[in-house]
C-alpha cells in the first residue's frame, strides 16, 4: 500500500542521518516510539518527539532501554508500527527484548547508531562493532534482519525498508547506522507519499472462532491480531504452540525455533540488498558497509588508477548475510578485502562463505574515526599480488 501522506515530509531537505531516519520511520507509518537518551542516536527521537504530535502518534521517553525496548512491543500489539533508537550501551540492554520480539514475532525496528565500545567506550565517535551483537546478542537460536545505510538519504529510504521487512516477516529489524552516518548532513529527497510503498501489517482475516495466533499458511509467517479486537489471544516468550500456549516439549521447541530461523533463511536471497561495481573483471573485491563503504570507494578508485582490477560489493543487508553472493564471487576472484570499524566481525562471515576458494583480508580499525583510504589501498595492493 502507499504511505500515509500525513507522515511524509515530501521535498528536498538538508538534514543529517539521524533526522532522515526519523522521517523514514514516519513515512513508513511508525506512529509510536519509545526511547532513552543516548549519544549519538538521540536526535532521531528528539525529532520524532517534535514531529509525531503533528502527525498523530506518540513518543514516550522511558526510564531506561530495558523499558523502551518492550514498551514499543506493547504498542505493536496495540496496533501501532513502533520502534526504538539507541547506541552501544543501550543496545546491550535491549538484547533480551530483541529475543522477545523474535520469539513472539513482534514486527518492530531497533535503530542502533553505533559508537565505539566496549562499555561506555567512545560516546561521540563512530564504530561498526555491534554487527555481531545485532545478529547474536540475545540468547537462543533466532534470526533477525539488519540493514546498513551509508548516507542520510539511505537513512530515510532504508528505514522505510526496515519497517516493511519487519511487517513482512514479523521479525525485529536492526537498523545499523554509525555515528558518522547519523551526524552527517547531506541532501535527502523525500518523494511524494504515493511513490512510497509501505507494507501493511499481516492482520488475520480469520474470524475470532477460527483464529490460531501462531498458525502459518505456507510461508512460515503467521498472521497477527491486535489486542481489543475480540480474538482473546495469548502471547508468551515461552516456547509455544500454534495456540500461542506454552508447550515446553522438545518437538514443539524444534518446530517453533526452526520456523523462526527458516522464515528468514529461506528468504535470504530475496532480502539481500547490495551495491556492486566493477565485479565483471575484478580480481579483488572490497566488501564493506555503512560509512566504511564511502571511505573504501576512495581506496578502490585509487587502486583502479594504479591499474588494479578491484571491484566493490557494498552490503546493504548485513543479516541474513548474503552468503550466496560471496560464494559465487569466491569462485571468480582472488581475494576479498573487508574494511570495517571493528577488529574483525563481518570479515569472518565473508571468510566462511568464501570457504577457502578466495583469500580474505581484514582491514580492521578499533573505531573513533573512519579508515584512512591509504590503509585500505595498501591491503588491496597486497591482496592483488
Amino acid at each position: 500500500m502507499k504511505a500515509d501522506p500525513r507522515g511524509v515530509l515530501t521535498g528536498v531537505h538538508f538534514i543529517d542521518g539521524d533526522h532522515a531516519c526519523c522521517e523514514g520511520a514516519l513515512a513508513a507509518g511508525a506512529r509510536f516510539a519509545a526511547g532513552y537518551p543516548i549519544t549519538p542516536s538521540t536526535e532521531v527521537v528528539e525529532r520524532f518527539a517534535s514531529r509525531v504530535p503533528t502527525v498523530g502518534g506518540t513518543f514516550i521517553q522511558m526510564e531506561d532501554e530495558l523499558a523502551a525496548s518492550i514498551t514499543l512491543q506493547g504498542a505493536v500489539w496495540g496496533g501501532a508500527k513502533a520502534f526504538t533508537v539507541t547506541s552501544g550501551p543501550g543496545f546491550s540492554l535491549m538484547m533480551e527484548h530483541i529475543g522477545y520480539a523474535a520469539m513472539t514475532e513482534t514486527p518492530c525496528v531497533f535503530v542502533d547508531v553505533q559508537r565505539g565500545g566496549p562499555s561506555t567506550g567512545l560516546p561521540t565517535l563512530p564504530a561498526q562493532a555491534d554487527m555481531m551483537q545485532a545478529r547474536w546478542g540475545s540468547h537462543g537460536d533466532y534470526e533477525i534482519i539488519a540493514l546498513c545505510p551509508n548516507s542520510p538519504q539511505e537513512c530515510f529510504d532504508l528505514t522505510i525498508k526496515a519497517f516493511n521487512l519487519a511487517e513482512e516477516f514479523r521479525v525485529p529489524v536492526m537498523f545499523m547506522m554509525d555515528e558518522v552516518v547519523g551526524h552527517m548532513t547531506e541532501k535527502v529527497v523525500i518523494p511524494p507519499a504515493d511513490q512510497i510503498e509501505v507494507t501493511p501489517r499481516r492482520h488475520t482475516r480469520k474470524s475470532v472462532d477460527n483464529y490460531l495466533p501462531y498458525e502459518t499458511n505456507g510461508d512460515m509467517v503467521p498472521d497477527m491480531a491486535h489486542a481489543g479486537e475480540g480474538y482473546k489471544f495469548h502471547v508468551t516468550g515461552l516456547t509455544h504452540d500454534e495456540h500461542g500456549y506454552p508447550n515446553m516439549t522438545p518437538p514443539v521447541q524444534d518446530k517453533l525455533v526452526r520456523r523462526l530461523q527458516n522464515k528468514i533463511r529461506a528468504a535470504a536471497d530475496r532480502i539481500a540488498m547490495f551495491e556492486e561495481q566493477n565485479l565483471g573483471d575484478a580480481e579483488v573485491v572490497v566488501v564493506s558497509y555503512g560509512i566504511t563503504s564511502r571511505v573504501a570507494q576512495r581506496a578502490i578508485d585509487l587502486a583502479r588508477q594504479k591499474g588494479l582490477k578491484v571491484g566493490k560489493l557494498r552490503l546493504i543487508t548485513a543479516w541474513p548475510f548474503p552468503e550466496n553472493k560471496i560464494r559465487e564471487l569466491s569462485l571468480k576472484v582472488k581475494a576479498f578485502v573487508v574494511p570495517e570499524l571493528n577488529l574483525g566481525q563481518m570479515v569472518h562471515e565473508v571468510e566462511r562463505a568464501a570457504a577457502g576458494k578466495a583469500k580474505t583480508f581484514a582491514v580492521s580499525h578499533a573505531g573513533g574515526s573512519v579508515h584512512h583510504p591509504e590503509d585500505i589501498l595498501k591491503v588491496i595492493v597486497e591482496a592483488s599480488r
Binding site: T54, G56, A67, I70, T71, G74, W77, G78, A227
Partner: protein, 286 residues
C-alpha cells in the same frame, strides 16, 4: 436443569487446565477474585488486556480468556504502558508477583506510578521468589529463611503500598487471600479509577515460604491472615510494613485523583501546538 457452570469459568482458558500452581498457593484465589470483580463491574472483556511478567503469578496471563501477554521478567509494566498508549480504549491490567514488579521491575513500577499511567496493577506478594525455588525477595520479611538466605534475611523489606504511594499511585490497597470479597471489591473499584492503581495481595507459598519458616500449611496461613490482619482504611502507608508473624495492615490506603499521563500529554500538546496538534488516530495499521 440448573446451570452448573462455575461463574468464573467464562473468564478462564479451560483448555489450559490444570494450572501449575501448588496446593495451598494463593494465586488461584486472587484470579477468582479478579474474575468476580470483572463480573461485578461488567467490564467489556473485548477491551480488557492482561499483562504479566515472569514467575508463578506471571502465569496468570496464560490462564485468563483475554488478550493476554506473558512478557519478560520485570517488564510487564513497560509493555502494558506501550499497549495502553497505543490503544487508549483498552483497560490494561498488570498481574504479576512481588519479585517481578518490585525487584527486577522496580524501576518501571515507580516510574509508571510517577507518570500516572492508567494501569491496574495487581501484585501477588508471596514474600519470596517461588518459581525459582524460594529465594529472598525485596519483600521477604527480616529473619525469614529462604534458599539464598539460609541463616535468615537481614535486608530491610520493601513496604510496597508506601513505595507506590510515594511514587504517585492514585489508588493503593492491600488485602490477603483470606479477604476474597474485599479484594474483589478493591479490584472493581480500581477499574473505576483513571490512573495508576496498585493492589497488593498477601498470598501464601506453603511449598517454599511457609514450610521453610515453619509457619504451617495453607490453612494455617489463612488462620494467620484472619487473626493478624487489621483493616485500617486510610492508614498511613508508612505503618503498613510487614513482619514474619506480626500484624498485617490491610485496607484501602490511598484513593485520590490526579490527571493521568495521557490526559496531561494531550493537554500539553494541544496548548503548545494549537491547530497543529493531531489527535492520535486509531493506530491499527491494518
Amino acid at each position: 436443569m440448573s446451570d452448573l457452570t462455575n461463574p468464573v469459568e467464562p473468564f478462564l482458558r479451560s483448555d489450559r487446565m490444570p494450572h501449575i500452581w501448588c496446593p495451598g498457593c494463593g494465586i488461584g484465589t486472587t484470579v477468582n477474585c479478579f474474575a468476580r470483580a470483572l463480573i461485578e463491574s461488567k467490564i467489556d472483556l473485548e477491551h480488557l488486556a492482561l499483562v504479566s511478567g515472569i514467575g508463578c503469578t506471571g502465569r496468570v496471563a496464560g490462564y485468563v480468556k483475554l488478550d493476554s501477554f506473558h512478557t519478560t521478567h520485570g517488564r510487564a509494566i513497560p509493555f502494558a504502558t506501550g499497549l495502553k498508549l497505543a490503544n487508549p480504549k483498552l483497560n490494561v491490567v498488570v498481574y504479576s508477583g512481588d519479585g517481578d514488579l518490585s525487584a527486577i521491575g522496580g524501576n518501571h513500577l515507580i516510574h509508571a506510578a510517577r507518570r500516572n499511567i492508567d494501569l491496574k496493577v495487581i501484585c501477588v506478594n508471596n514474600l519470596i521468589y517461588a518459581m525459582t525455588g524460594g529465594q529472598t525477595a525485596p519483600t521477604t520479611p527480616g529473619h525469614a529463611i529462604t534458599s539464598t538466605s539460609p541463616y535468615g534475611t537481614c535486608e530491610p523489606a520493601f513496604n510496597l503500598p508506601h513505595l507506590v504511594e510515594a511514587a504517585g499511585a492514585v489508588y493503593v490497597a492491600r488485602w490477603t487471600t483470606f479477604h476474597v470479597r474485599q479484594l474483589a471489591r478493591s479490584i472493581a473499584e480500581a477499574f473505576q479509577k483513571k490512573g495508576f492503581s496498585f493492589i497488593e495481595v498477601i498470598s501464601p507459598c506453603p511449598t517454599l515460604y511457609q514450610r521453610r519458616n515453619k509457619l504451617g500449611d495453607g490453612l494455617d496461613t489463612m488462620k494467620y491472615y484472619k487473626e493478624k490482619s487489621k483493616v485500617r482504611h486510610g492508614a498511613p502507608t508508612s505503618e503498613a510494613g510487614l513482619t514474619m508473624t506480626g500484624e498485617i495492615v490491610v485496607g484501602k490506603f490511598v484513593d485520590r485523583d490526579r490527571p493521568d499521563y495521557q490526559t496531561l500529554v494531550r493537554a500539553q500538546l494541544a496548548e503548545s501546538l494549537g491547530d497543529r496538534f493531531v489527535e492520535q488516530a486509531e493506530m491499527v495499521c491494518s
